[in-house]
Subunit: 332 residues, 2 copies
């Protein structure tokens, strides 16, 4: 494929799905509103309206388009998925008291913890109402299971984040909760609502799951090798926040006794000083863990693209394949 | 009715529903467990196992028993309702940063904010899975709407709590979110799952709603006139936490200019000093707002008992009526 093809596939998807996306935006605005509590749209507007890429709702719309679904439940499900995503972001923003004490930058600069929690709950409840309107028990089952995987992954991340014993397997579980569970639910419900065959529904799940894992691994890798100007993030944020991600997990697995002591001090005990990030990067360089992490991301991307094979051969399918390439192209 | 009848009706209900309640407890323990995140049962156990009265699940079981429901979905729904209640408690525990700064006692002494939020989310997700297992779209619709009312009421409470403009109407909306929405959903789904008639389902909703409102008004009144030894709460906690509840709302509505300035200082601006609680109580005495609040609670209790009329005449129904009397008997 040439470089134009992999330029911005999500923009081309957005063009192709423009009418449906407008429907999703209209529905989101309508359902965010609260007769009784004006604080709600105030808190959510900046998240929902902030010009996000609407990647997750687009996955649902794209899955439905693959099967020329004629109804409007996919609009509801796309809004559902975006509400769940936004609620998760709000709840992630809640700051540990211990976190504050360590002087970490707070993520909820604009509102207090309580607003983040309660408005997040409101969005969860709204998403729940929306999905019930589809009257599909299978869709409800998929989304209930995704919600449990997401919540379990979040708790796991909280407890495992700074624990050097965290394995690649636990990391994958966290990644599924954090990202892949909602991606795979988004694609799967799009297929279910459109009457896709079992094999196709499974393929849509597999695609969303692998795309989500690739996406999150790429994100974690970019934290260490990204271009701050392009990503808007500072290199090493995860290190400073003592988050064990794949590049570090791979380095810890091969660490000498002395190196292990370094990771214990900086990640487990959080005693960091100048030069530590540079040393961490040097250790990752020593064992080639950034390259190994990139290879993992690429493997997941390949898996995602392979899953697409049993789906109808059309422009949307090609764009989903290009989207997958794009997610990891930032790394290569 | 004699005093023995109104002694502890919830204990007699628990006796009558013992087998089902054991089923609920077993299910709760099974579904709390997390293969991946052992922190979860650790956080929830103290809430779920703390020997609560299991009032809400008992309402669901009682409603099903009224119609001799032979299945086991009522066990799932009772566990659902308890999970939602526990999740709400966990999220209520999250402390405002501003709240802490004012030196308010933190409610989440045992775990940090982040654990309360994420484990609460996990319980919500688990409750969602449980209710989907009943395969009743109507049940899902009822619980989705209850979830939205609860979340909206919580946000409303947060924004209205210290605002003197809060009317009795807004207070009622908060009370519905805080308490009555889950009571009414608990009774209603018990009827729906048992195949009760439309009139009976409506009656179960009305009963749960009015009982919940009476329960919360009683709770708010006891905060000002309770026996600290019996309730385990200190008189005036709501005043100190600047929460506008019915006794104060009624006093504010009749306040002179000078009295209004007192409420503005103590509730809106939170500048309280010694003697303020006593003065607040004197103002409530002057306008008889504790008596008026008690009369309101009794009216809601009467409404709840009246709703029971169309339900099958049996011991459970009489116990639900006694339970209603018991809720307000603490006040009389």
């Amino acid at each position: 494929m040439d470089s134009a093809t992999i330029s911005k596939p999500h923009e081309r998807l957005a063009e192709l799905l423009e009418t449906e996306l407008e429907g999703v935006n209209t529905l989101i605005r309508a359902r965010m509103a609260s007769r009784h509590a004006p604080r709600i749209p105030e808190v959510t507007a900046h998240l929902v309206e902030a010009g996000g890429k609407r990647l997750r709702p687009m996955l649902t719309l794209a899955a439905a388009r693959l099967f020329d679904y004629p109804g409007d439940h996919h609009i509801k499900l796309a809004a559902t998925v975006e509400f769940i995503h936004t609620a998760t972001l709000l709840h992630d923003d809640v700051v540990d008291e211990s976190g504050q004490r360590r002087g970490r930058p707070t993520a909820n600069l604009l509102w207090d913890n309580k607003s983040s929690v309660l408005v997040g709950d409101y969005l969860f409840a709204r998403s729940f109402q929306l999905m019930v309107e589809t009257e599909s028990l299978r869709v409800l089952d998929i989304l209930a299971n995704a919600a449990a995987t997401i919540a379990e992954g979040e708790v796991l991340q909280m407890t495992a984040a700074s624990n050097l014993a965290t394995s690649e397997e636990v990391y994958l579980q966290v990644v599924r909760g954090k990202t892949a569970a909602l991606f795979s639910a988004a694609t799967e419900v799009g297929g279910v609502i459109s009457g896709a065959s079992e094999a196709q529904v499974q393929a849509l799940f597999d695609f969303g799951d692998a795309l989500g894992v690739a996406f999150q691994i790429a994100d974690d890798l970019l934290d260490y090798q990204g271009d701050a100007a392009a990503t808007g993030k500072n290199v090493g944020d995860d290190f400073r926040e003592r988050k064990l991600t794949l590049p570090v997990i791979k380095a810890v697995a091969q660490a000498t006794q002395e190196e292990r002591a370094f990771w214990q001090r900086t990640i487990e005990r959080g005693r960091q000083s100048e030069g530590d990030l540079e040393h961490a990067l040097a250790l990752m360089g020593k064992y080639g863990t950034l390259e190994a992490t990139r290879a993992d991301a690429n493997r997941w991307a390949d898996k995602a693209k392979a899953a697409l094979d049993v789906l109808p051969d059309c422009e949307i399918r090609h764009l989903l394949s290009d989207l997958t390439d794009y997610v990891v192209s930032r790394l290569n």
